[in-house]
């Protein structure tokens, strides 16, 4: 029995007479003791999936199970063993203290007084909320509110915890604390499971056993981080430094295009650097052989160097690529081979579908 299982799960929203397909035949299986990271752009369907699995929303088609319980038909049983924490949500009543809020939530799960007391104290300690124990919730900072929210999520010691962008808006220290705790919590009991949605690739890589990439309601990749990276098969990522006029956007675009059309190039993106004009461009090759491009958050160097990250399907194509660049008049200063990162994988799967 899986901790979480979905079978051809779909959800259509009707909006002003239009049908919007938010989830399209989603099939996932999360084993007990696993942390699954769900990656996707805004509106990809991450939150819709979490809402269905956490009984807040009904699917239009398909079925889903939590520890063998049908999410639609056995919602009550499901609710006893799950919890959900979303980034930026209200963690309780503002006029109640941290402790009172946790007690309140413990009662929603019917915890006995002694269990509730013990668990509240443990969570207050684990979340480092000791000095805020008797402080009213509305007086907490964003970081501590989210710690309280996370504590709320653990209050019923759920078997399956859904974390919907839990580190949204958190500073580095709070986010790190949260990631560490999540990992330790699952490690402590292998019957526990987490489904984590996030925008942050590093976060997913750091804590998740498996990663699913969702795009326009469909799961387009579903592997462990290392397997995903190696899904680029013989793929290789190279960083190329090219001397060019940093202000000539047209020439950069043209360069990205030329690189992308070179043999063996799966994706190409301008790398962030010190100076910042907000975006950098990427171009990716579609499976059918066509291309698409777009703009990607990042920055462009102002030191006269343009740094390009290129994903190749085979490292034997590197010489051809360099030749193409030189033949097109670009001054290549360096070529450095690199291990594929999750970002490369993400670009490969998501980037190729955008544009």
């Amino acid at each position: 029995m899986y901790a979480v299982e979905t079978i051809e799960l779909s959800r259509v929203f009707e909006l002003k007479g239009k049908s919007i397909l938010a989830l399209d035949d989603v099939n996932i299986r999360i084993g007990k003791g696993e942390i699954l990271g769900l990656l996707g752009a805004n509106g990809a369907g991450k939150t819709t999936l979490v809402k269905i699995l956490s009984t807040l929303l009904l699917p239009s088609k398909g079925s889903s199970y939590i520890h063998g319980h049908d999410v639609v038909k056995e919602a009550k049983q499901v609710r006893r063993i799950i919890n959900l924490v979303s980034g930026g949500e209200t963690p309780g009543y503002g006029m109640l203290t941290v402790r009172e809020n946790l007690w309140f939530f413990s009662q929603l799960y019917g915890l006995s007084s002694s269990t509730a007391r013990e668990r509240i104290e443990m969570l207050i300690r684990d979340m480092e909320l000791e000095q805020y124990r008797d402080v009213r919730m509305h007086r907490l900072s964003t970081g501590y509110k989210q710690r309280l929210n996370l504590a709320r999520g653990f209050i019923n010691d759920p078997k399956v915890l859904f974390l919907d962008e839990p580190t949204l808006g958190l500073d580095v220290i709070n986010a790190k604390h949260m990631r560490k705790y999540i990992r330790e919590w699952v490690n402590a009991d292998k019957t526990r499971t987490i489904l984590l949605t996030t925008h942050y690739l590093a976060e997913a890589e750091e804590v998740c056993d498996k990663i699913a990439i969702i795009y326009k309601g469909r799961i387009v990749a579903y592997e462990s981080p290392s397997a995903l990276k190696s899904s680029l098969s013989n793929g290789v990522s190279i960083n190329v430094e090219i001397f060019s006029d940093p202000t000539a956007i047209a020439s950069r675009n043209s360069m990205v295009e030329k690189i992308s059309r070179s043999s063996g190039v799966l994706a190409c993106m301008l790398e962030p650097s010190g100076s910042d004009n907000g975006y950098h461009d990427y171009m990716v090759k579609h499976e059918g052989g066509s291309y698409s491009n777009g703009r990607y958050d990042g920055s462009i160097s102002s030191d006269g160097l343009t740094r390009v990250r290129i994903i190749l399907d085979d490292d034997s194509k590197i010489p051809d690529l360099v030749s193409t660049l030189v033949l097109n008049g670009y001054k290549v200063l360096s070529v450095r081979k690199d291990q594929p990162t999750l970002e490369d994988v993400y670009m490969r799967y998501i980037g190729m579908r955008e544009g």
Binding site: E14, S54, R79, R80, E89, E100, Q107, Y109, G110, R136
Partner: protein, 279 residues
Amino acid sequence: MSRGRGNIKDDLILNLKVVYARAYVRLKGLLREPHWSIAEVTIPLLSLCAYIYMYTMLDAPIEYMAFVIVGGAMLAFWSNVLWGVSAQLYWEKETGMLQHYMLSPASRLAVLLGMAAGGALNTTLRSISILLVGTLLFPVEYNLLDINALLIVFLLTITALYGMGMLFASLFLLYGREATHIADLLQEPIYLFSGIYYPVLSSQIFSQAVKLVASIIPLTFGIDAIRLLLIMGKGMEDVLLHIVGLSLLVAILLPSSYIALRKMEDVSKRHGRLTLRWQ
């Protein structure tokens, strides 16, 4: 079978805890924000005073002063039902708390009962304060002969009233943003028909049809019976009709509120509108 009984027992214990926990939030609010309670006693008193002066201007019989004060004390319950129960699920949604309730195995009815219980207890204190202050300010006289009848009528009124509030809560949840308007809209017409400031059921001014329509509002029977018992010195036999009417309302409103809650939750989940704020 024993497992089934165990489940029922577990559910019952869980939901009783939920009722208590939600009522606790209400009572904490009373203690933490006492100015709310002060406002909820003082503000209605301002209107009560105005209507008492109006009756004085018109040389109305002295018991009209007491009518207004009793009406004002009962009005506190209506305000609480409207804003503290009917609109509460909507507010919980707006503040993001509704999602937490919906995620939990707790019965939604238990959550509403908790709100109602906390609200009723809170409001009883406020209502008594209005009665006391009003009585101190104006030369009113009471003539209570049957305290048992008064207690029965009061409890039935409160149960029916909060049952109505729980029924509205589901409707408000469905109507989302319009909920505040609906709550606002219901306020004055209820004052009008339920006889907060004047007798309705015993008045010759209103037709039988109006009285029948007004009887749908539990407040109408409740206020009229309480006035008869508390001010006019009447007994149980004089308010039997009121008791029957209120009992009927309780029998209709409580199950309806449960059915409506399930129905609305289902509709909301289908349309994905259950937890979205500002929708």
